[in-house]
């Protein structure tokens, strides 16, 4: 492959997957600057390992494998995700009005932090990919490099923990 077509393909990937990748990283990490760094590093890895990419596979899967590995490393280093940036907001879809009625936007932000705070890095990644990004189990396996049983086990613990966190959060809210 010549340099110009490599450039062209890479530019397409960056323009197409930057925002999406950032959002996934942000949901896992919970910090804007760290997420931007991760996505930048991920694309640099894509560029360096461009020749390793197998065209038979989906780019998104390969890309999110890199992103999830970087997120995993970052999460292990920072135990607690730092605060959210002001430039980001949790958007509520209009069809879920009942949810919007029970919690305001600020509470949503806090909830998101509180909900996933005590998950392990693996649980967090699996949970974001499967429940927030709605990826198939097979895709989650490919991205994380885990076998289906491990993905399911992590998913089970993550959902259970999130449920427990939601309950205690709501109880706390009622008390206030």
């Amino acid at each position: 492959m010549d340099a110009s077509s490599k450039n062209q393909i890479f530019k397409e990937w960056v323009n197409r997957y930057y925002e999406y990748g950032f959002r996934v990283a942000y949901k896992i990490i919970g910090n804007e600057e760290d997420s931007r760094d991760i996505i930048q590093d991920a694309f640099l890895k894509v560029w360096i390992k461009f020749e390793d990419y197998n065209e038979k596979n989906k780019f998104s899967t390969w890309f999110f494998t890199i992103v999830s590995n970087l997120c995993y490393d970052r999460l292990r280093r920072i135990k607690r995700a730092s605060s959210y940036s002001d430039s980001l907001a949790i958007e509520v879809k209009p069809e879920n009005e009942s949810i919007e009625n029970t919690m305001n936007l600020k509470e949503f932000k806090d909830t998101l932090i509180k909900l996933s705070d005590n998950l392990s890095p693996k649980q967090k990644i699996v949970f974001v990919l499967r429940d927030m990004e709605d990826l198939e189990i097979a895709e989650v396996c490919e991205i994380t490099g885990m076998d289906p049983e491990k993905v399911k086990a992590n998913l089970y613990y993550a959902r259970k923990q999130i449920r427990a966190n939601l309950i205690s959060f709501k109880k706390l809210e009622e008390r206030i």
Partner: protein, 232 residues
């Protein structure tokens, strides 16, 4: 199956998470257990709630900035093998100046340097003006010898020049400020000073020293002085 056994399977409720036999076991259990059915309903609600959240970036222009940074980094990786050190420094500076923080920082540093330069010049100008006001003779010169200013006649200056050449000093004026009437000189050569003192024996510099003994005229460090002496 008991509730404790079926509970992990209830959490894996999304399509594709359970195999056929597991799904059958769950369905059978749920048909007869209201508690587990309530749990399943709760989990569905929880998922609905979580999937309703989405992270929205209000500042879309930010993405363009970061995307451009990725391309720059990629270009830097590509050029790294071929680019020389000055080229890398230039590239780094271009990269730095693209970031608003570095841009503002560099603007502040440049402004500070300009202000310092202007202020320094203004101080010098004020001192020269003071000299001119006191000794308004266009043919006079003020010299700073060993950090002490003295008044020189025009011919003294010619004498210094001539002797400097004799002593192999190309530039006797190491630090000078010229105005319409005064040339302030800094000299650091003992032999030259001795010759000047013997030549210019009529000078009474002490009154002038009191007036001129300011930071502008005594600002030269001793270290520089000694270095110059060694050189000379």
């Amino acid at each position: 199956m008991r509730c404790e056994e079926i509970e992990p399977l209830i959490y894996l409720w999304k399509p594709g998470e359970l195999n056929v036999s597991e799904q059958q076991a769950v369905d059978e259990h749920l048909s007869g257990c209201s508690l587990c059915k309530a749990l399943q309903k709760e989990l569905l609600g929880q998922n609905l709630q979580i999937t309703s959240w989405n992270v929205k970036n209000k500042e879309n222009h930010k993405a363009d900035f970061y995307i451009e940074r990725i391309f720059e980094k990629v270009r830097a990786i590509e050029d790294n093998q071929t680019i020389s050190l000055p080229g890398r420094i230039k590239q780094f500076s271009i990269y730095c100046f693209r970031h608003p923080v570095y841009r503002y920082m560099s603007a502040a540093i440049i402004s500070a340097l300009v202000v310092t330069f202007l202020l320094q010049n203004y101080i010098v100008y004020r001192h020269i003006s003071a000299l001119e006001a006191k000794f308004g003779n266009p043919s006079s010169y003020a010299a700073v010898i060993e950090n002490k200013p003295i008044l020189l006649a025009k011919e003294d200056f010619s004498f210094i020049k001539a002797n400097s050449i004799k002593h192999g000093i190309k530039k006797p004026e190491l630090n000078w400020f010229k105005s319409s009437q005064f040339l302030l000189m800094t000299m650091r050569n003992h032999r030259l000073i001795q010759e000047l003192a013997s030549h210019n024996s009529g000078i009474e510099p002490f009154d002038i020293i009191k007036i001129y003994n300011s930071s502008v005229f005594t600002g030269e460090s001793k270290r520089n002085q000694y270095n110059m002496e060694e050189k000379l």
